[in-house]
Each structure stands twice: as structure tokens, then as C-alpha cells.
């Protein structure tokens, strides 16, 4: 016998594939993915055309923009902040893209993407700077910039609109052409999800964002550069929103003063439904992306099953509440499991 018997024994079976499997089933993404699969199955049973190739392509196209926005928003929410100005940023970048094509029809398309992301990043940096410098909650700051950015767009655009017909054909084709059955812009979104997902899981700076969201004061004590990291999260969110803005111009028929308004709450909803806690520190961008797919699929599936449009928003609302309740239940259950498994035999 040794002194160590005075302390509770712990599992020694961690490590290896078993550990990975256990972690997988405990993760917050599983319930959301399960809900998505159930939704698709039920809808297909009611209306078999829901899974026709064209319909699947539409589902993917509809989800693309929200996926990218949700990934950016997840970065910010994980740090216990929020960015409500993304709808306005998307509008500014989308209208800017239309203006650019109008003024310089031969502009190289990669340059348009670069310019859009840079524009978004600058707007995100304004948010990030205000949040970190003024030490005012991001909710208030970005509510302010949401109106400011929208005001700038309204006075810039006036009643003017740019239509997809005005853009180069190659640009519009990004939302039409497919590769291996997947639309090009959706592939862009998938690449974004994977890249940011790896960053958040396996790069030190990404883990810092979790630490900041988990306990900001502890992060500061530990020597994590809290301000610069939060600023970077806002810049990244802005850049991704910029990317989404350019893709929006490719995907949708027209862009104008109202483009993207109201989108911010849909995106926050997708992120929360996807298992990213609004209080920061937990959740993944994969979850946020699945949440985005789920919310955009619900709209399509309610249409496919001919549910009254009025019910659609209420349904989304119920889903948000369900996600929060499931999340809470899971964490309570895990806490109880830890208690029982780590206690000695009493």
C-alpha cells in the first residue's frame, strides 16, 4: 500500500482509439448532427423529391453563405464576445463587389476575393479595436457598428442595385458549376470549415481563444495576449464575412442597401444551435457549421413538407431552446458521471 490510496483512483484507460471514440460520443456536435440527419430522413419520407440531385444542390448553395458566416462568428463567440455587425459588413462588401465589377469589368476574380476579404477584415478590425480598447461588451459595440455600417451602405448605395447579369459570367458560374457534385462556392465553404477547424483544434493561438472565453482573467494571468487575440478573432470574422459577401454577390440576383440585414441573428442562432456556448470557451467551428446547415435545411424542409411559412421562425426558435436545454442536460450528466466515476467506493 502507498500513500496514493488516500486519493481517488482515476481511469487508466485513456489514450488510444477507445479514448477517441469516447470523446466523439461525448461531443456537443453529435446531437446537432443527429437532428440534421433525422430532419432529412423525415422530410424525405414525406416528400421523396427532397433528396433529388437538384434539390440537394440547392440545399448546399443555400447553406454555403451561412456556414462561412457561422465559422467566423464562432471564433468570436468562443472568446465570449459576439459580432452583430456581420450582416452590415456582408452588405458593404457585397455592394462593393458589385460596384467594382461595374467600374472595372475585367478585374481578375481572385483580386475581387482578396479585396472583399481585406475590406471585411478592416471593418472587423474596427469592431475588434473598439471592443478591446473601450472595454465595453461586444454586444453593445457591434450593435453600434451594425447601424453605422448599415448607414454608410445606405448612403452609398441609395436606391441603386447591382444585378448578377452585370457581373462577369465566370464569377456567376462559381455558384452554378459543380465539382464532384458539389458547387464551387460550397467547396470554398468546406475548405474554410476544415482550415479554421484545424486552427482552433490544433494551433496554439486557436487554443488561446478557448482559454480567453473560458476565463479571461486567468488567461491574462497566464500571459496570454488577450487583447491582440480578441482583436484577431474579430479581424478573422470580418475577413470571413467579406468572403461570404463576395460569394453572396455571385450567388444571389441583386445586391443593394438592404443586403444582409437581419442575417446576424440567423448566424448567432446557427452557432448556438451548433453547440458553441454563448458564454464562451466551448464548442467547435464544425458544430457551428453543422448548425448553419441545420437551420438552412429546416427552411427548405418546411417548405418541402408544405408547413405554413409562419411556423418556420417559431420552429427555429424552438430549436435554439432545444439546443440550449440539451447542452445543459449533457453538461449536468457529465458532471454527475465525473462525480460518480471519480469517487471512491462509498
Amino acid at each position: 500500500m502507498s500513500i496514493d490510496t488516500a486519493r481517488p483512483p482515476v481511469h487508466t484507460d485513456h489514450g488510444g482509439p477507445l479514448h477517441a471514440v469516447r470523446g466523439f460520443f461525448r461531443s456537443r456536435e453529435i446531437p446537432v448532427a443527429g437532428a440534421l440527419i433525422a430532419l432529412v430522413i423525415i422530410t424525405t419520407v414525406i416528400n421523396p423529391r427532397f433528396l433529388s440531385p437538384q434539390s440537394v444542390k440547392d440545399l448546399m448553395l443555400n447553406a454555403t453563405i451561412v456556414i462561412i458566416l457561422a465559422v467566423g462568428q464562432a471564433l468570436v463567440i468562443i472568446t465570449e464576445n459576439v459580432d452583430l455587425s456581420i450582416g452590415s459588413i456582408l452588405g458593404l462588401v457585397a455592394f462593393g463587389t458589385g460596384t467594382l465589377f461595374n467600374a472595372w469589368p475585367g478585374v481578375p476574380i481572385p483580386l475581387v476575393f482578396l479585396g472583399g476579404m481585406l475590406f471585411g477584415a478592416v471593418l472587423g478590425a474596427i469592431n475588434g479595436f473598439l471592443v478591446t480598447a473601450a472595454k465595453v461588451p461586444a454586444l453593445v459595440i457591434t450593435l453600434g457598428t451594425m447601424y453605422i455600417f448599415r448607414g454608410i451602405l445606405t448612403s452609398w448605395a441609395g436606391s441603386k442595385q447591382y444585378f448578377s447579369g452585370d457581373n462577369p459570367k465566370a464569377f456567376g458560374n462559381l455558384s452554378v458549376d459543380v465539382f464532384l457534385g458539389i458547387p464551387i462556392i460550397t467547396i470554398v465553404a468546406i475548405v474554410v470549415v476544415i482550415a479554421v477547424g484545424i486552427f482552433m483544434h490544433s494551433v496554439r493561438a486557436g487554443r488561446d481563444l478557448y482559454a480567453i472565453g473560458s476565463d479571461r482573467d486567468a488567461a491574462r494571468l497566464f500571459g496570454i495576449a488577450v487583447g491582440p487575440r480578441v482583436l484577431a478573432a474579430f479581424v478573422a470574422s470580418g475577413a470571413l464575412t467579406g468572403l461570404a459577401g463576395v460569394l453572396y454577390t455571385s450567388r444571389y440576383n441583386s445586391v443593394g442597401a438592404l443586403t444582409g440585414s437581419g442575417l446576424e441573428l440567423d448566424v448567432v442562432a446557427a452557432v448556438v444551435v451548433g453547440g458553441v456556448a454563448i458564454s464562451g470557451g466551448t464548442g467547435t467551428v464544425f458544430g457551428a457549421a453543422i448548425g448553419a446547415v441545420l437551420l438552412s435545411t429546416i427552411t427548405s424542409s418546411l417548405t418541402a413538407t408544405r408547413v405554413d411559412k409562419f411556423w418556420q421562425q417559431a420552429f427555429v426558435g424552438m430549436l435554439i431552446l432545444a439546443a440550449i436545454i440539451v447542452d445543459r442536460a449533457v453538461s449536468v450528466r457529465n458532471a454527475r458521471k465525473l462525480r460518480v466515476s471519480e469517487s471512491r467506493d462509498v
Binding site: 490510496t5 488567461a219 500571459g223 471512491r344
Partner: protein, 519 residues
């Protein structure tokens, strides 16, 4: 038998190591003010490589401020600061860490959502060739650290819900993994019990022998004298003096700390024991404690003793109604107390002073007055509105009775020192005039002067017919204060000792009953 298992007491280290080392860290005449409050007037410390150096002083003596200057949290307003013989001025905690200074705080600062392993290695996780975090390696390194420390903590669990003792151990593992040249330990042992303290001391001596300079802050003199080579004394924000441990005695140090002689440390006076106030019958919470039965009578102080993790805090939390229990009953004044209902417990006359005052006892951003009267809102209200004047009067009454040192009742509690915060928590509960008071580690992290004030206060309350349950890990406190001692071990009560029969050996052997024959 296990009589050899003594908490935290080992013979002093062989002298000869100190006094010859090179300077690891030196701070001379550092000052720091916060608005009108002078937190530090003359912070001076001379820490050498290869020594363990104690820093002692009463609450509000400026120790915590000094630690924060070393940690790079506060920049001093004046004074000289050198690390390894080189002048430094830390702007951020990162600067301090980069200079090889590691600080273990009194209150753990972990990330509740991250795993234990990540808490240790955040910002410097091991990486593979692609520059990505190698989680397998990180897990292995964490497990190795815990093996070195002799503590089985699962590196993959999240930090949320860990006991303070385990959180402290993770902090220590973190500092060890940083291979710090200077290790500052701000009351690391406050939440540890005997076995863990011995283990920590072993680690600290190992680090010292490898040439680290260790600054050790503690209110437990037996630890200071067992572990440390030299002692620096502070009082009222000023450096008073430094001594070789071998050349001084406890009374001398205490005298320097408080600037006056102290009376007896544990002044529990016999009070007439009245009727049964609380009776607990077969209380069980699966996986935590089982079949707990005991009574507390008016005027009696009953101590719950045992090692950290024995389930003492959990029992009193269940009695008060914070946690659910699976079976058993709690009866107060002959009436059954509703389970899982703290509001009912307060109404029935129970006061509860929790162990972790920062998280459970105080609202740190609220003023002293608001905190002290938090439990009294109904009594202070007129027509449903709380009167600020009455609030202030009540708060002032209790603050002055407990001698809370604060510039104003309106200052936020977070600006007070640890001992004064504890007094505010006590004031908050005493203002409700409870018939049963539960205190969990009432003097954890509190200096000698305040400690005896708290003890005198508890004794006084018992004398006025209040029944008191005191959870404590400090053996002298338990032996000095309690009329009866219940010893817990691994979720069960293993001994009930009246004051006359209680000895350190009997309490310790009951607290470690599964260890019989070991060592």
C-alpha cells in the same frame, strides 16, 4: 498503527544551504498605491538561488500586492527590481514568466472548460513537425508530471468541478513544467491536508536543491519553520526584517508581524450545552458520502475533521441544501428540513460560510455594505425597497465588530485582503442571527491575528447558544476549538471524539484509517 502520519510537519532542513546562494530575485523599496489606498509602502525581498524563503505578515500587510508585482500583474510605482542580477520592469504576466518567475496563486486560476493537460500547457503545447498540437504527447507529459507529484489526476478531464486541492496541484504541475528559476507560492498549502503538504514540501525541496529560489507565503508557522531557510516579515505594507530560520522563534516572528503580543490562539471557552439544534440521520449521497449521522446541540462547536476530499464539505453543503442527497434526513429544532432548498435553510436559521469565499461567499464587485447585508434584504426593506441608510448602518455595525479593514463601506469587496474578505462573509451571515452556523475552513488563508479573532468570535457565538459546525483541515484549530470532533474518511464518519479524548494522533489515524499499516 499510523501514528507516524503527521500533517505537514517534518524536521527542519539541514542548514548550510542558505546565505551562500547567488541572488535569484531582489526587490528593494517597491511601492504601490491604488487611488487613496497605499497597498505597499516598502516592499523588499532578497531571494537567493537554492533557498526557500518565507514571506509572512498579517492580512493587509502587502504580501499579495508584492506577489502581484513579482508576477507582472501590477507595475510598482517605485523601487528597484532585479531578477538573476539583471534589472527588470515587468509590464505583463508574460514578461514575468519569460524571466523565469512562476507564481502559484492563493486562489487557483484555471480554465474551467479546458482539459487538465491543456491547463498546464496552454500557450506552449507540444507540437509535431507540421506545427500542430500533439495531444498524445501533451497528455503523456501531463501524466508524467502527475506521476512525479504522486497525484492521480486524469489529464483529459475538464478542470471544471475539480476540488481546490486538485486545482492547486495542477497549478504546481504547471509551474514545475515551466522549469521556473523563481517559484512564488502564495499560500499553496492552505487547501491541502497533511499528506499533500508533505508531498508538496518534498517537491519544493527538490526544486531548491536544483537551484531554484522559492518564495513561500504561509500563515502556518509549523510549515514556515519546517520548510524555510529564511523568513522575511512584513507589516502594514512595509518590510520589517529578515531572519535565518534557525535564529528565531515563533513568538519573535509573531511579535514582529503584529507589533504586539498575542493572547492564546484558540480561546474556545466552555459554554452550557443546550438542546439539540441539528440532527442528521443516515445522510447519503451516492459516490460522495454514506450513512452520515450526527447531532449538534446549542452552544456546541462540532468539528468535521479529515483529509481534503473526505467528503466534509459535501456533507455540510447537503445539510444546507445546496446539493441534493439520495437518502437520509436533516432535522432542525425537531422539524424536518426540506432537502435541496438553501432558502428554507436560511429561513429556518442556518448560516453557511463556504470554503471558497471568492466563488461562493461574496459578490466581488459589490460594496462591502451590500455584501454584508446580502442575506438581510427582506429585513432591511421597507415597502419592498431596500433603504441604503439602514443597509449601511447594519453593515457598519458588523464590520466594526469584526474589525474589517476597509477605507469605506462603499469599496468593492475585491479590493480587500483575503482575511478581510472572510470577515465580510462572516458579517453577512452573523447579521441573520442564525441558530446554526456552518463554517467551512473559516481561517483558510487568514493570518494569525485575524485567525484568533475569528476563533474568539466563534467561541463567543457558541457561548450565546448558537450551534456551530466547523469544517477544518487544521489540526490545532480542530483540537483547540471543538467540543466534539467527527472525523471523516472517504465519505464515512470513522470516529467521534469528545474534546477530552481527542488527540492529534487519534484524529489523524481516524482520518487515514485505510492507511493503517502503511509507512
Amino acid at each position: 498503527m499510523a501514528n507516524e502520519v503527521q500533517p505537514g510537519i517534518e524536521p527542519p532542513p539541514p542548514s548550510g544551504t542558505p546565505a551562500s546562494g547567488t541572488p535569484a530575485l531582489s526587490l528593494t523599496g517597491a511601492s504601490k498605491t491604488f487611488g487613496p489606498v497605499v497597498a505597499l509602502a516598502d516592499g523588499t525581498i532578497d531571494l537567493r538561488a537554492g533557498e526557500i524563503h518565507a514571506l509572512v505578515g498579517e492580512n493587509g500587510a502587502g504580501k499579495s500586492t508584492l506577489v502581484k508585482i513579482l508576477a507582472g500583474v501590477h507595475a510598482p510605482d517605485g523601487g528597484d527590481f532585479e531578477v538573476g542580477g539583471v534589472g527588470v520592469s515587468f509590464k505583463t504576466p508574460a514578461d514575468s514568466k519569460a524571466a523565469g518567475v512562476s507564481v502559484i496563486y492563493q486562489e487557483p486560476t484555471l480554465f474551467p472548460d479546458l482539459t487538465v493537460a491543456e491547463n498546464i500547457f496552454i500557450g506552449r503545447q507540444p507540437r509535431n513537425r507540421a506545427g500542430l498540437i500533439n495531444r498524445g504527447e501533451m497528455r503523456r507529459m501531463a501524466r508524467d508530471l502527475f506521476t512525479t507529484l504522486g497525484v492521480p489526476i486524469d489529464p483529459d478531464r475538464i478542470a471544471e468541478g475539480l476540488s481546490i486541492a486538485d486545482q492547486q496541484i495542477i497549478e504546481i504541475a504547471k509551474a514545475i513544467s515551466l522549469d521556473a528559476k523563481v517559484l512564488v507560492m502564495d499560500e499553496p498549502t492552505a487547501a491541502l491536508s497533511g499528506v499533500e503538504v508533505d508531498r508538496l514540501f518534498g517537491v519544493a525541496r527538490g526544486l531548491r536543491d536544483k537551484g531554484a529560489g522559492i518564495l513561500f507565503i504561509s500563515h502556518r508557522f509549523e510549515e514556515v519553520f519546517a520548510l524555510c531557510d529564511r523568513i522575511t516579515v512584513m507589516r502594514d505594507g512595509r518590510y520589517i526584517g529578515v531572519h535565518n530560520t534557525a535564529d528565531v522563534t515563533v513568538p519573535q516572528i509573531v511579535k514582529e508581524m503584529v507589533g504586539r503580543e498575542l493572547g492564546a490562539l484558540f480561546p474556545k471557552v466552555d459554554a452550557p450545552v443546550g438542546e439539540t439544534v441539528l440532527s442528521v440521520e443516515g445522510l447519503t449521497r451516492l459516490g460522495t458520502f454514506r450513512d452520515i449521522s450526527f447531532e449538534v446541540k446549542a452552544g456546541e462547536i462540532v468539528a468535521l475533521a479529515g483529509l481534503v476530499g473526505a467528503g466534509r464539505t459535501e456533507v455540510v453543503r447537503a445539510v444546507f441544501g445546496i446539493d441534493r442527497y439520495d437518502s437520509g434526513s436533516v432535522t432542525l429544532h425537531g422539524k424536518a428540513l426540506a432537502p435541496h432548498n438553501p432558502q428554507a435553510a436560511i429561513t429556518a436559521g442556518i448560516g453557511f460560510v463556504p470554503e471558497d469565499r471568492r466563488k461562493q461567499g461574496l459578490v466581488m464587485d459589490l460594496s462591502v455594505a451590500k455584501n454584508a447585508t446580502l442575506t438581510l434584504r427582506k429585513a432591511l426593506a421597507r415597502f419592498g425597497l431596500i433603504s441604503g441608510n439602514r443597509e449601511r448602518r447594519t453593515a457598519e455595525d458588523w464590520s466594526s465588530r469584526l474589525q474589517v479593514k476597509t477605507g469605506s463601506q462603499d469599496y468593492a469587496v475585491s479590493t480587500l485582503s483575503g482575511g478581510n474578505q472572510q470577515k465580510v462573509v462572516l458579517a453577512k451571515w452573523l447579521a441573520t442571527e442564525p441558530t446554526l452556523l456552518i463554517v467551512d475552513e473559516p481561517t483558510r488563508g487568514i493570518d494569525v491575528g485575524t485567525k484568533s479573532e475569528v476563533h474568539r468570535l466563534l467561541s463567543d457565538l457558541a457561548g450565546r447558544g448558537i450551534a456551530i459546525i466547523m469544517v477544518s483541515s487544521e489540526l490545532p484549530e480542530v483540537l483547540g476549538m471543538a467540543d466534539r470532533i467527527l472525523v471523516m474518511h472517504e465519505g464515512r464518519i470513522t470516529a467521534e471524539l469528545p474534546r477530552a479524548e481527542a488527540t492529534a494522533e487519534r484524529v489523524m489515524s481516524a482520518a487515514t484509517s485505510s492507511l493503517e499499516g502503511a509507512l
